[in-house]
């Protein structure tokens, strides 16, 4: 069994901040930075600053301070999850750092929910961020090189999201979760992350439905992380062929962030893409009651790609229920 049902876990609040590209996109946000440095010296510092700002804001908004928080779970895309660790060093809060690339946010919620379910922990914060240029630098080419990108490539979103998660009843219940398996379908193309992650997403969705004995129509919406246009199409067909699951109400978060004229090709990626869309669009619409949120992460390392290895991927799922 890789699925867990939670009885007392709720998402109480969320705060997000976005970068310049996202502000010009399709969704309206409350907080944003206007350039990639945000008056810091380096991109790395800018990412840490964004994370700090969402963590401070969520504490302030809910009248909390570091002593009220039992646990922070979080991660980002940088090597050694730098942004999160360097941000949290300023707070006297217990911290679990995690990495599953763009599935990090969902993994954080799963871990935090488990801790809260034990009732030993009362309040937790999940945290994630990504920065287009820190990841571009780390995973691809130098920032100003501006290497031509193919149409299948995705664009790492810039932003940070924090969410308060506790036993206190709120409108959004974390109802259940499924922990994913690492899946590798032999893709070597570092530009085609959608194709890398689609089988992992399919496996987790199928596993979730099977273990909890649910039909896909149980959910009003399946929200995947950052498959992009290519991955979304692949997932649909892959689920039908391999698992006989017909995906009807499916939104890919990566495809919601940018406007079509922004030349971001297949869509947004990065651990922050999914929570940005979830908190700033999907949950605000109040249209869906039962949502299956599937975070997808490509676990590639540039070193292993250079050494001609294929790219593994993982997907974790949580089921959210909107209580009205």
């Amino acid at each position: 069994m890789a699925s867990i049902i939670f009885k007392n876990v709720y998402l109480n609040d969320a705060v997000s901040i976005v970068g310049p590209y996202e502000q010009k996109g399709e969704i309206k946000y409350l907080n944003g930075i206007n350039d990639f440095y945000d008056s810091e010296k380096t991109f790395e510092d800018a990412e840490i600053k964004m994370q700090k700002s969402v963590l401070d804001q969520i504490l302030f908004k809910n009248n909390l301070n570091s002593n009220n928080i039992d646990l922070v779970v979080g991660g980002d895309l940088m090597n050694q999850i730098t942004a999160t660790s360097y941000n949290i060093r300023n707070y006297p809060i217990s911290f679990l750092g995690i990495y599953s690339a763009c599935a990090s946010f969902v993994e954080s919620i799963i871990i935090a929910s488990n801790m809260l379910e034990t009732r030993f922990f009362k309040k937790g914060i999940v945290l994630t961020s990504s920065h287009n240029l820190t990841s571009e630098k780390q995973f691809r080419f130098p920032v100003e090189y501006g290497c031509l990108r193919p149409k299948r490539s995705t664009f790492t979103a810039t932003g940070a999201v924090s969410a308060l998660i506790s036993n206190e009843i709120s409108q959004i219940k974390v109802e259940s979760a499924t922990i994913g398996k690492v899946i590798d379908y032999g893709i070597k193309d570092v530009f085609n992350m959608g194709a890398v992650m689609a089988p992992a997403a399919a496996s987790t969705i199928a596993n979730h439905l099977k273990e909890l004995k649910r039909d896909i129509n149980y959910y009003d919406l399946v929200l995947t992380g950052d498959l992009g246009e290519v991955g979304k199409n692949i997932l649909k067909e892959f689920l039908e062929i391999n698992y006989q699951i017909k995906l009807k109400n499916h939104i890919d978060a990566g495809m919601q962030i940018y406007a079509p004229d922004q030349e971001t090709y297949a869509g947004a990626s990065g651990p922050v893409a999914l929570p940005l869309v979830l908190f700033n669009k999907i949950l605000k619409q109040k249209k869906y009651k039962k949502i299956l949120v599937v975070g997808t992460g490509s676990l590639h390392s540039p070193v292993m790609c250079n050494q001609k290895h294929t790219i593994p991927a993982i997907a974790h799922a949580i089921s959210l229920e909107v209580i009205s």
Partner: protein
Amino acid sequence: MNKEQYQNLVKRKTPKENRLMNSIVAFFFGGFLGMLAEGVMQLIRHIFNLSILDATVWMMIIFIFVACLLTALGVFDKLVNIFKSSLIIPITGFAHSVTSAALDYKQDGLIQGVGSNCFKLAGSVILYGVVAAFVLVIIGVLIWQV
């Protein structure tokens, strides 16, 4: 579905690149850049009364400088997006690759940062350029001198 079937599915769902269009753009703008370089070279030659060889060196210095400046101003990557490989293949691309890598690491210090990383992309051009020149010279000598 096995891995091969999956590769087929991926192939089917992945959008095709406009290779022909990109090549045509690169061909014409690359050619235009060459023409421009020739013009600049001739201009220098006549104004300063230099030999073709000297004027060519000056022209290259100008092109390298302009490319580096545009990279530093954050314009070059946008131009690459429009003019494709026509700016990457000539010497401007080489200058651009060195400057962009150096810019990335400027905060990491002069030795560990800029010094050890500025040839991150250009290093292979230099290495294989030298190796290719070496091999070709040997072949040339064997053909024409023996």
